[in-house]
Structure formats: C-alpha cells, structure tokens
C-alpha cells in the first residue's frame, strides 16, 4: 500500500500524463533528488528552481496566467511567510479582475510538527492560509485522500493549496485507504521509488491508477458515533480516531470527521453531525489564537447554540513562537492523544 508521499507522486504523474500539468517545480523538486520528501521522483516535468520562494509563487502565477498548469512547492510551510502578499495577489486575481483571470495552479507545502523539525520545520499554515481568500485549501490525512485531493486540486481552475502533513507522509495506509489499482507495498516501491546513488538511468514504472477525484469541499466521517463530534484534519485525524476507538471501551461513542478541505469547508456535514450529538471538539495543530478552529467554533455557537448540550471546545497548538526541538517541548506544543481523549471524555460527560 502506498504511503502518502508515494500517493502524491502518483497523483503528480497522473497530473502530467492526463490532466495537463506542465510544471512541477520548486527547490530540489527536479532530478536528482525529486523533493526533500521524494514527492516528485520520476516526474518528467519536474525542475529545480532558484532558492527563492517569492520567485516560485510568482513564476507559478505567471505560468498559470499564460495558460500553463503548474504545481509549485514551498519546501516547508514555515518559508511561505515571505510570500504572503503574492498569495494574496494570486488568491485575489479572479476577484479583482472581476472574473477575467483565473489561476489554475497548485501550491503544495509540507505542514505541521511530528518529525522533530524544531522551530522552522514544524509550523502549521492552516490559520494563515484560511485567512487568504480566493484559495481553496485541502489537507489530506491518508494516502488515498492525498491522491484524490491532489487530482482535484490539479483539475480545479482556481489556485489550490495542498497542505501535506509531513508526519504522515511516510505513514502506512490503513485498510480502506488504498488507491485503486496500486500493487502491494514492495512491488510499488520497486516501481516508483528512485534507487539510492546514481539515478541517472532510472525511470519509474507507474501503476495504472484511475482518475479518482475526491471532491474539494467535502468532509468525510472516518468514524461514526453518537455521543460527541470530533472535527480534525491532517495529522490530527488518525490521532483523534485512535482516541475515539479507545474511548469506545468506556462506552463513549465519538464521531470523527475529517474535514479534508478547509476552504470551502463542508459546513453541512458538520452541522448535521453536531446537531445530532450536541457536543463538539475541533482539533488542529496551529497556534490557538486566531485559529481556523475558532471560526468553526464561532459558527457552531451562532447557528447551533440551542442544539448544544455542552460548550463546544477547541484543542490547538500553544500560542508560542515555535515548536521546540526536545521531545517534551515538541509534544507540549501541539495536541496529543491523551489530551484529546480527556477533552472528549469531559464533553461526553458534561451535563447541561
């Protein structure tokens, strides 16, 4: 079964073969490395850009304006902070030209903690990204979704940010998270993982995977439940699911929803679940002040107040300047499973 990074690679391959992707570029995305996480190994139209994030996003905008279909990458989302005005410009292109220029481009960037990336390789980008109108924003939590969301992102006529939770890039897919048509793990690795050492003569052999479009804007219920709704995305999804599975033995039945798309988010899906359970926890890794989960919480309070049986909650990253390197600092910075479990338990037991 594919890892998420292999899934992204297969999607980029489908993108260049069947969906018109013309460029996959950024720092180190071309040969020989094929991306610092190996996400673009074997992609024919991949190339190395100068180490210039503003140039990367600027060039992607220019390419899209001239009819190309680029996928560009900011090597770590922590370095996307120096392109904010260009993101605003790209996101605003369709609106400010009154619908004359759309930008069919994808910007992918690895996000979040979990690989001991310290202060500048652990940040989240969802709060900042969701504050820039005009972008669609997706964040997969498993290989299948990564594949399907990337295809949808590529095919979309708008700029789409593909936030890749780096802690999950190499995680094994669970049953149900496989991509149709993919061979078993070892065979796949032989086919599409570049060998170490000299790669100059290597070419990948791609499995026949289908055009599986996971619609942008659609959440999925990864674990149905009666008592509490838990809404997460990216790396927090498997964590919340694990916490929920454990709570089941205490008779607490948690419904876990994977948002999958942050903008435009699937409010109908959330509303249905929260109205049913009356209790909700939003979980993400970004710093907690002015957090995207706060928006969801605000909307929950404004629209579903009388259906709530407990105060809705948000668990997010600590509002500190970075994620520290040491284990204890890393884990103290972002939500952990025990914390998620205990808030879910409190919510389930809360009596109005």
């Amino acid at each position: 079964m594919a890892t998420m990074v292999q899934a992204i690679r297969m999607a980029l391959h489908v993108g260049e073969e069947r969906l018109g992707v013309t460029d996959v570029f950024g720092q180190d995305l071309g040969p020989p490395l094929g991306g610092v996480f190996t996400q673009s190994q074997g992609i024919k139209c991949s190339w190395n850009s100068p180490l210039d994030e503003r140039g990367i996003i600027g060039c992607a905008i220019g390419l899209a304006l001239a009819g190309a279909r680029p996928v560009c990458e900011i090597q770590f989302c922590d370095y996307a902070y120096n392109i904010i005005d260009l993101l605003k410009l790209g996101g605003g292109m369709y609106w400010s030209s009154n619908g004359q220029w759309n930008l069919p481009l994808v910007m992918m960037t690895p996000v979040g903690s979990g690989i001991h990336g310290s202060i500048y390789h652990s940040h989240s980008f969802d709060a900042t990204a969701t504050h820039i109108p005009g972008w669609k924003i997706v964040m997969p939590s498993n290989p299948r979704d990564a594949y399907g969301l990337m295809l949808s992102a590529i095919a979309d006529p708008n700029p789409v940010m593909f936030l890749a939770p780096k802690a999950l890039l190499r995680a094994k897919a669970l049953p149900g998270e496989e991509i149709p048509g993919e061979p078993d793990e070892r065979a796949l690795s032989k086919m599409i993982d570049a060998p170490l050492g000299d790669r100059s003569k290597w070419t990948p052999s791609w499995p026949a995977t289908p055009d599986l479009f996971i619609p942008i804007g659609k959440a999925s219920t990864v674990r149905p439940g009666r008592d509490v709704t838990c809404v997460a995305y990216g790396r927090m999804v498997p964590l919340c699911k694990k916490a929920a599975d454990e709570l089941a033995s205490d008779g607490i039945d948690v419904e876990v929803i994977d948002l999958r798309t942050l903008i435009p988010y699937d409010w109908e899906h959330l509303r249905e679940s929260i109205s049913r359970t009356g209790r909700v926890l939003f979980v993400n890794e970004d710093t907690e002040v002015t957090n995207f989960g706060e928006h969801l919480l605000r909307r929950t309070v404004e629209e579903l107040f009388y259906q709530l049986l407990a105060p809705p909650r948000l668990l997010a990253g600590a509002f500190v300047p970075g994620v520290g390197l040491a284990d204890a600092l890393d884990t103290a910075s972002v939500p952990q499973k025990t914390e998620i479990s205990s808030v879910l338990r409190e919510l389930a037991r809360h009596q109005p």
Binding site: G58, I61, G62, L63, A66, D85, W95, P215, G217
Partner: protein, 362 residues
C-alpha cells in the same frame, strides 16, 4: 552568456518618419489629456483616488506602439504598473474605460469597480492585472516568459516598474530567473526612473549610479534611454525588443522620465514645475521641424479635450456595482466535484449573514 557586448547607451542613428511622429504626438496628447481629465474627475468627487503617468507619455506611448498585441504566448505579455496609461492608450483602449475605473462603475471593464484607476486588466491583449503592491509583477513575469520560451515564436514578456521599486526582492527575482544559464527568458525588464519613491529621492534609496547596471552582473544586455524623448525612446525600445524577440534572452532597459503631477492624488496631483515636460518639448520640436503647426496642435487639443469631457459626463451616469456582488468571482466555476460549488456558495453566504439579507433584497 550574452552573445553580443553589453551596450552602454543607445545612439539611434535612424530617424522616425513624420507619420510616426504625428502618431506619437496624437497619442501622447490624448494620454496627457486623459490623465488630466481623470485628475479633475477625482478632484470633483467622481472617484476616490488618482494615480497615473503624466510625464511618462513619450516612453509609454512608444512602448504601446511597439507591443505585439494579442492573446496567448504568440503575442507579448504585459506586466505593467499604475503609470502605464499611455501604453494602454497607444494600444487602443477606449479612454472612457479608464474613466469608468476612476468612477468605479459596474461598467469598468478592468475590475467592475473593484480596483483603482489605471489598474488595467485586458485578457484579449495579454495585459495581466496591474496590482498595487510595488514590483510583484517582476516575480510573475518569468512565468509568462517561460511559456513563451517553450512556445517559440517572437512573443516576449514586458515588465515595467518604477525606480524605487527595484529595492524590492521581486526585482532581484526577475534578474535571477531570467538569466539562468541555458534557461534565459525572453523578458524585457523596464525601469521607468523618475528619481522618486513617493517622496524619497533616488539618492536616499540606492547607491548604484545606473539601475540598468544591475543587469550586468547577470550578463544581461542593458541600456539607459531618455524616456522624455519619444524618438529616442521609440528606437531604444525597438532595439531592446528586437533583441529579446530574436535572441530569446532578457534585456534591462532603464528610462529616465518625469513625474509631472507628483506621486498621486495623495500628494495633491498638482502640476509640478521644474520637471521636464516631454509633451511640451516634443510639440516645440515638431513645430520647429515643420511637421505640425502650433495651430494644428492647439485644434487637436481642443477637440480631444472636448471629446474626453463628453465621455466623462456619460460615464458619470453609468451604474455603480451592487453591494452583494462582492460575492461574485471569488472562485472560478469548476466542473470537478460539482456538488462542492453549492457548498461553496452556502459557506460564503452563511458566513456573512448580511449577504443573505442583501441578496434577498436585491
């Protein structure tokens, strides 16, 4: 590296024909009068903010006449800035459209009343949207040029900005991306140097004597032209363009220009004395050379002024955009995951209850 030696200056030995000079004059005059009309509109309350390019007509009209106008990579892409109105006039815009943008009417073809005056956007002519942040166009230009490099042909990317803006990293981005060995891009980089940021003189902003020299470190062809002389400007631009068109390599052209009405309406938009006026100088020369008489030029001025006044009166009566249209064009419609479109609309609407109410009213 570059195939021909780097040039220090242009010394054009060819002369332009009287026909071209007359055309240049007509367009320079129309551009000037349009800007003066726009300033007046703003001062009379028919618009909130003016920024534009009086003083740059000699250079910008010449540029507009030389552009290969059309849609797609076979033609030139233009990444301009807010002082480029004369280029647009020379390319053939309807001046009324600039007034519509000034008056932010729903009929403004460039932004539907959303953006400032002189912020053009014309897909049919590859004029990509002009944006307020200084210099970002220099980051985007390599993208369109890359498409043109692959496409072949003679289409080039033209990117233009002011001198103060060259301090931004985007200018360096363009130098770097346009000159990678073996991947040189067909970009004509233009700096219109009026010696000022908003109020900060050039000398307080940067140490290099000539901005064009920055291209030399990248092995680029560079030149400085007198942008206040339409003949020199025309021939200089043509020479630079021809190089980019045929060599498929970048060129950095610095044009010395004037800023006749200050920075924008925020600095008063009043005529500044002490700056060289390219139109007045050109008219004097045309008269001396016997190409146009003073009387003829005066008549033309009266005619154009009248036509622009009539236009502005008409534009004044055109409708303003409706508030709830702010939700139009946030996203381009998509076929992929079609059902998500409804979700998108629901999200926009419900997240802004006022919008729903407005929608019901309208």
């Amino acid at each position: 590296m570059s195939t021909t030696p780097i040039q220090e200056h242009f010394y054009p030995d060819t002369k332009l024909s009287p026909d071209v000079l007359i055309r240049l004059h007509e367009l320079m005059l129309r551009s000037r009068l349009l800007e003066e009309r726009l300033i007046r509109m703003q001062k009379q309350g028919d618009g909130y903010f003016w920024i534009g390019g009086p003083g740059e007509e000699a250079f910008n009209v010449a540029l507009g006449l030389l552009v290969d106008k059309g849609r797609g990579p076979a033609h030139d892409y233009l990444h301009l800035h807010y002082r480029s109105s004369a280029t647009m006039v020379a390319m053939g815009i309807d001046p009324a459209d600039a007034m519509r943008q000034m008056k932010n009417t729903a009929t403004d073809p460039y932004s539907g009343g959303r953006n400032f005056v002189n912020h053009y956007s014309i897909p049919e002519w590859n004029v990509v949207p002009v944006s307020s942040p200084i210099e970002v166009q220099f980051s985007m230009a390599p993208g369109t040029a890359l498409v043109q490099k692959r496409f072949g042909g003679r289409g080039i990317t033209i990117v233009q900005g002011g001198d103060a803006g060259t301090a931004e990293g985007d200018f360096a981005s363009c130098l770097i991306w346009a000159t990678r060995p073996g991947m040189e891009l067909p970009v004509l980089m233009i700096v219109t140097n009026n010696e000022f940021g908003i109020s900060t003189p050039a000398a307080e902003q940067h140490g290099e004597k000539r901005i064009a020299d920055r291209g030399k470190a990248f092995g680029m062809q560079t030149a400085v032209v007198d942008g206040n002389d339409p003949e020199t400007a025309y021939l200089g631009i043509k020479q630079a363009m021809d190089y980019v068109r045929s060599e498929r390599r970048p060129f950095l052209l610095e044009a010395k220009v004037s800023r006749l009405y200050g920075h924008s309406s925020s600095s008063g938009a009043n005529f500044v004395t002490g700056e060289s006026d390219c139109l007045a100088k050109f008219e004097k020369r045309l008269e001396e050379r016997g190409i146009l008489s003073r009387q003829k030029m005066d008549e033309l001025r009266v005619q154009e002024t009248q036509a622009l006044l009539e236009m502005s009166k008409r534009v004044r009566t055109e409708p303003q955009p409706k508030g709830p249209t702010i939700y139009d064009h946030v996203f381009a419609p998509t076929e992929v995951g079609g059902e998500a479109k409804a979700r998108q609309d629901a999200m926009c609407a419900v997240a802004n209850p006022a919008a729903i109410n407005n929608k019901e009213q309208s």
